[in-house]
């Protein structure tokens, strides 16, 4: 479904993505993990076409999206939905208008049909009856669910999630995880989740990709990652402050590390 080959991106001297090769299987949940500054969010921004790589290919349904024009890319974007870390709901619009926007703009459906679709999508995320609320009137977890309803409004084949549990209490974060699982299992949606929350990753993932300093460090099923002998992976999944990545380092080592990533 999504194939990434030799993806490289630098910001000035700083190499953020360093030759990433990755295969994201259809209908499965792929979790991309890694420490802060590891390149997760940059990789995601490349997948949704917000950034252009210096080198490499991104194939979605065998179409290389790297060289597409703005209008061509917009056609590809109809295949996917995106859940942003901060929900990114339009604050001047109601919950209904937020979910209805992609339908009004991309389809010729009548207002009546759009109303029904929005109702169905909101029901899917457990928010029936919240149509007329403004985003500032609902909680962070509810905003995430509205954003998810908006992301799946056009029945996309792929949904990208950027830190879906960030800033939420454990129960709400777990509800969001369950929604991701439901969408994947019931609607056969291909999911790409960027997170650094281990519990959530092991709960939902079919495949886990571990990124470190812009490279794929480890890739495989949750069990394989759990049993990995790589010291970075072990330090990461056990949440230890000392290990392969030292807690304190000299200023020279810190500078070198920054320039390497």
């Amino acid at each position: 479904m999504i194939t990434i080959k030799g993806l490289t991106k630098s910001f000035g001297e700083r190499v953020v993505l360093n030759g990433i090769d990755l295969e994201i299987p259809e209908g499965k949940i792929t979790v991309i993990m890694g420490g802060s500054g590891g390149g997760k969010s940059t990789l995601l921004r490349h997948l949704i076409g917000l950034n252009k790589p210096d080198e490499g290919l991104i194939l979605i349904d065998n179409e290389n999206i790297v060289d597409l024009s703005f209008n061509q890319m917009n056609e590809v974007r109809r295949k996917f939905g995106m859940l942003f870390q901060g929900s990114a709901l339009f604050n001047s619009m109601t919950v209904f208008e937020n979910v209805a926007l992609p339908l009004q703009e991309h389809t010729d459906l009548s207002e009546e049909i759009i109303k029904i679709i929005v109702k169905v999508k909101l029901e899917l995320v457990g928010l029936t009856g919240f149509e007329d609320f403004m985003p500032f009137e609902i909680s962070g977890g509810m905003k995430k669910r509205v954003a998810l309803a908006r992301a799946i409004a056009l029945d996309p084949k792929i949904v990208f999630y950027d830190e879906p549990g960030a800033g939420l209490d454990p129960i709400t974060a777990s509800m969001i995880d369950q929604l991701i699982l439901d969408l994947s299992q019931k609607l056969k949606i291909t999911s790409v989740v960027v997170t650094h929350e281990m519990q959530s990753a092991f709960k939902i993932a079919d495949q886990i990709v571990m990124l470190h300093k812009g490279k794929v460090l480890e890739i495989g099923s949750p069990d394989r990652i759990r049993n990995s002998q790589n010291p970075y992976v072990q330090q990461f999944i056990n949440g230890e402050h000392e290990g392969a990545i030292p807690f304190k380092q000299t200023s020279e080592a810190y500078l070198k590390g920054l320039l390497e990533t």
């Binding site: 949704i48 076409g49 917000l50 703005f70 890319m73 917009n74 056609e75 974007r77 109809r78 996917f80 939905g81 995106m82 942003f84 870390q85 901060g86 990114a88 709901l89 339009f90 604050n91 926007l101 992609p102 009004q104 703009e105 991309h106």
Partner: protein, 266 residues
């Protein structure tokens, strides 16, 4: 010396780059607005109407206050000078012509740059910070068509209307002072006001206000879209939107007045 010329060069390059970006945005906004009818999805009329209420109806109180004060001050100061030549009865002419040709469009544009330009830059800047603009892009929707076009279209319609209101209110303000304070006969004041006005005064003023509206809309939306980062950047963009708009309004006013003066002699 080298540093001096270097800094002048980099400032000039910065200025030209800014002007080029503004023209780029202008091209995208005009093509989106002009081909709106032919596009699969036209400009959202509700959004244009909403922006018209914000920039037009909601700005009426401050526009009236500024216009009235301006007319009063102009009548007082004008009468004070005209008295020396025994020409106090021409106060009405002075107020009406200077307001219609110059001060009405200029003051209304400056007030709207402060009130609506700042609002546009802050609103779009915050949307950028909160990833709402990225959300539009990832949905395959053009932020220029959905955010910039309705704001610019609405302002291009409402600012000329606000200028007419400013002109009328300023003339009323001038009339009140001319009659009550300076002691000019009301009929004489009104007849002198209208005698001096020609159609060109009105339409050149309105043409200028249309240009100012396009400038305020483009500059403010451009500043909003240029935000990268957090609250600090939104503050910078808002200030920059107002300052750049006001400077450009004054420069364009100067150029437009010269063009109208030489190209359209009375």
């Amino acid at each position: 010396m080298r540093d001096f010329f270097g800094s002048i060069g980099s400032a000039a390059a910065f200025l030209f780059a800014g002007v080029a970006r503004l023209f780029g945005l202008f091209a995208r906004v005009s093509s989106a607005a002009l081909f709106s009818g032919a596009a699969k999805k036209p400009t959202r009329h509700n959004a244009v109407f909403h922006q018209m209420v914000l920039s037009g109806v909601d700005s009426l109180p401050i526009i009236c206050l500024v216009g009235c004060s301006m007319g009063m001050v102009l009548a007082l100061q004008g009468a004070y000078q005209l008295k020396q030549f025994g020409a106090v009865m021409y106060t009405g002419s002075l107020v009406s012509v200077s307001v219609a040709r110059e001060l009405g469009p200029l003051m209304a544009a400056i007030v709207i740059a402060g009130r609506i330009g700042a609002r546009m830059a802050a609103e779009i800047g915050t949307m950028k910070v909160q990833e709402e603009v990225d959300a539009l892009t990832t949905m395959g929707l053009d932020p220029i068509r959905l955010l910039v076009v309705p704001r610019c279209l609405a302002l291009c319609f409402t600012l000329p209307c606000l200028v007419i209101v400013t002109d009328v209110v300023a003339m009323i303000g001038g009339f009140v002072i001319g009659v009550l304070s300076v002691g000019i006969n009301p009929d004489l004041y009104i007849s002198k006001s209208f005698d001096a006005l020609v159609l060109k005064d009105i339409y050149t003023g309105l043409a200028k206000s249309f240009l100012f509206a396009a400038l305020i809309g483009l500059v403010s939306c451009h500043q909003g879209l240029s935000v990268e980062g957090g609250a600090d950047e939104v503050g910078r963009a808002t200030t920059q939107a107002v300052v750049t708009s006001i400077v450009l309004i004054i420069v364009v006013d100067c150029l437009a007045t010269a063009v109208f003066y030489y190209a359209l002699p009375s």
